[in-house]
């Protein structure tokens, strides 16, 4: 009846976990198999999964989620400075603080919907960004960024008898240093847990309620639902995901700067989610991976790399080709991202997941006509059948007829 089941979801989770854990091997052929990059995949995957719980399920488009990422990072670094270099207290504090921060911002922003909501969240994030550079300098250390120092107190570490101050401290998970592959596996396992929790939300009555709010918030009122607490919960949960991602950024590299809160960072998570497929379980992770991968590959290209790539061409042609291609790589990689994004939005508004669904089940996949109007179904556990497309076309104009 629903086309989903617990068994399906468990299989999905197991497959997901296997792919993440085998990531270093799977991504070897495309040259992405090194810990720094894979960590980024995992961390931004978590960020996007959380963002999708808000945007994908409720349709409320936040343009300020990087603020929570920043709060998470700062909170984690402070935990490293004051409590312990262990990742666990840092993560716990970051998640709680970003949740509280989301509560405050959500309380105000969710009084409005649509574009006004987006603008309110953007305004709050920019405000946080500017504050981090100005009056909050004692907390954020301004432009230099907040870092751990040998001389920090680290009360918890001292209490447990660590030799604080002996050497430049490194983050750890009960003794395992969070650099290199252990760092990736730590983030990967957190990503798997974050993904599992998002499945739980998607399949719960709460998740279905969020989808109903997205579909018709008016009807929710006439059905006895006060949408506000549901939206608040979704907003806070997704803020906590962002805080978690921010804290992991600090765990893998204990340094927090305000640029993490900039609007471009907020915009990036929007792109990731839409590119992969808003409202789907896998889409956001896919989008995050693709964007971080391309960022890494294309921004590393430079003229000499291009020249050697197009060596087979005659001198003059090569010159022109390299010149043009040069616009899209290095610092210009955002141009590539922009083009990729436009192509997806125009031809696949449901994101890459919609594309995959069309390929795998050409007939019965709901066609997405609008960004954010996601199919809300994955390939795995796709449940809805849409028939009578002709019928829908026939009745659509009738619906928009003014009614007396």
């Amino acid at each position: 009846m629903f086309g989903i089941s617990k068994i399906n979801d468990i299989m999905l989770l197991v497959a997901f976990a296997a792919i993440i854990l085998a990531g270093p091997i799977i991504l070897e052929p495309i040259g992405a198999s090194y810990p720094d990059l894979l960590q980024k995949f995992a961390i931004f995957g978590i960020f996007a999964i959380g963002f999708n719980i808000l945007f994908g399920l409720t349709g409320y488009l936040s343009f300020g989620h990087a603020a929570f990422l920043g709060v998470g990072s700062y909170a984690a670094v402070w935990s490293f400075k004051l409590l312990s270099m262990n990742a666990i207290p840092a993560i716990a504090i970051a998640v709680v603080l970003s949740g509280l921060f989301a509560l405050a911002i959500g309380y105000v922003s969710l009084r409005r919907a649509g574009i006004y909501f987006s603008i309110l969240t953007l305004a709050f994030a920019q405000m946080s960004y500017n504050l981090a550079y100005s009056v909050l300098t004692p907390i954020t250390n301004g432009e230099t960024g907040l870092r751990v120092l040998r001389t920090d107190p680290r009360y918890l570490d001292v209490m447990f008898g660590a030799d604080v101050g002996a050497a430049q401290p490194t983050t750890n998970f009960f003794g395992i240093e969070m650099t290199g592959w252990p760092g990736f596996y730590f983030c990967g396992i957190v990503l798997i847990a974050a993904f599992a929790f998002s499945i739980v939300i998607f399949r719960s009555p709460f998740g279905m309620t969020l989808r109903a709010i997205k579909s018709n918030q008016n009807r929710m009122g006439y059905t006895g639902f006060n949408s506000r607490p549901y939206l608040m919960s979704a907003f806070i949960i997704s803020g906590m995901y962002a805080g978690l991602a921010g804290s992991l950024l600090a765990v893998t590299d204990p340094l927090a700067g305000a640029e993490r809160m900039q609007w471009t960072a907020s915009g990036e998570v929007v792109l990731m989610t839409i590119l992969g497929g808003a409202g789907t379980l896998l889409g956001p992770v896919l989008g995050a991976g693709i964007i971080k991968y391309f960022e890494n590959i294309f921004s590393a290209f430079n003229e000499s790399v291009l020249n050697s790539l197009f060596e087979f061409m005659p001198e003059d042609v090569r010159h022109v080709v390299v010149e043009v291609a040069g616009l899209f790589v290095g610092d210009g990689w955002h141009l590539t991202l922009g083009v990729l994004f436009m192509i997806v939005v125009i031809f696949l508004p449901g994101g890459l997941m919609e594309g995959a669904m069309r390929v795998l089940r050409i007939k019965h996949s709901p066609k997405v006509t609008n960004i954010g109007k996601s199919p809300q179904r994955d390939i795995v556990g796709e449940g809805a059948i849409e028939e009578n497309l002709d019928d829908r076309v026939r009745t659509a104009p009738a619906r928009s007829k003014p009614t007396g």
């Binding site: 399949r203 989808r211 009807r219 006895g224 639902f225 006060n226 449940g383 809805a384 059948i385």
Partner: protein, 253 residues
């Protein structure tokens, strides 16, 4: 009259100078089926909008079971037991048919908020079986897993009705439930509404089709130009010259 479930008292509503409703006084009695008829633009839908909290009246009060409704949010009014079918179906277009019906049942169970993440919606057997039952009853049994934007207009109206019925409301407000339906569909809807009526639920129905009105209504109120021009039993209304002039004469099928 003290057995009134819904009392509308001295309600006015104007839109930028247009008096959509003026001086409306109307009592809906317990367990009756009350039809509101009148030409297009008479203010019928506006009256229901005032009752469910979509519009605030410019003046006047609406009481439901002795509770003042004016100033309340739509969700609060619904929780008191008022459910409404709209003139243009208000359903969850991106959800499947069965999900559309489960949502109001979650509302009935959790009232206005429940952070239900400890269970799966596809394993809520009680809620599912009641949803399936109601949908089968309304002839939507074959569409359970379909997205609602693939339904015909008549099916959408029936779905919206199902969404109201699973809430077990005390008062059901219907805004032109048969508009745009084929004859056979209309007749099926009449039979359905008769069954609903037999359960003792109070119904207010706005309807253009006089066949539907006379098959169902215990009493009829006629609106024209925002005021009540007549009220009475179907027989009284049929014989009322004012009504015939304002409305019935041109519209009777």
């Amino acid at each position: 009259m003290n057995n009134a479930v819904l009392s509308i008292h001295d309600v006015h509503k104007s839109f930028a100078g247009l008096h959509a409703l003026s001086n409306i006084n109307l009592d809906i009695r317990e367990s009756e089926s009350h039809a509101i008829i009148g030409p297009n633009g008479a203010g019928k839908s506006t009256l229901l909008n005032v009752c469910v909290g979509r519009l605030a009246p410019t003046r006047g009060t609406v009481l439901f079971d002795g509770t003042e409704l004016t100033g309340k949010h739509p969700f609060e009014i619904n929780q008191l037991g008022v459910a409404r079918v709209f003139q243009t179906p208000e359903i969850f277009e991106d959800l499947t048919v069965i999900e559309n019906v489960m949502i109001p049942m979650f509302s009935r169970r959790d009232r206005s908020f429940g952070l239900n993440i400890h269970s799966r919606f596809d394993e809520q057997t009680e809620i599912q079986s009641e949803s399936v039952q109601v949908l089968a009853d309304l002839g939507l049994g074959d569409h359970l897993a379909h997205l609602t934007n693939s339904l015909s207009r008549g099916d959408k109206r029936r779905l919206e009705l199902a969404m109201c019925l699973v809430q077990h409301p005390k008062l059901l407000l219907l805004d032109e439930p048969t508009a745009g339906m084929a004859r056979a569909d209309t007749n099926a809807t009449i039979e359905l509404l008769k069954r609903i009526k037999a359960t003792g639920i109070t119904i207010v129905i706005i309807e253009h089709d006089m066949h539907v009105v006379f098959s169902l209504a215990d009493r009829i109120t006629v609106l024209a130009g925002g005021t009540i021009i007549a009220q009475g039993t179907p027989d009284e209304i049929k014989g009322n010259p004012k009504v015939v002039e304002a409305y019935l004469g041109e519209e009777t099928v």
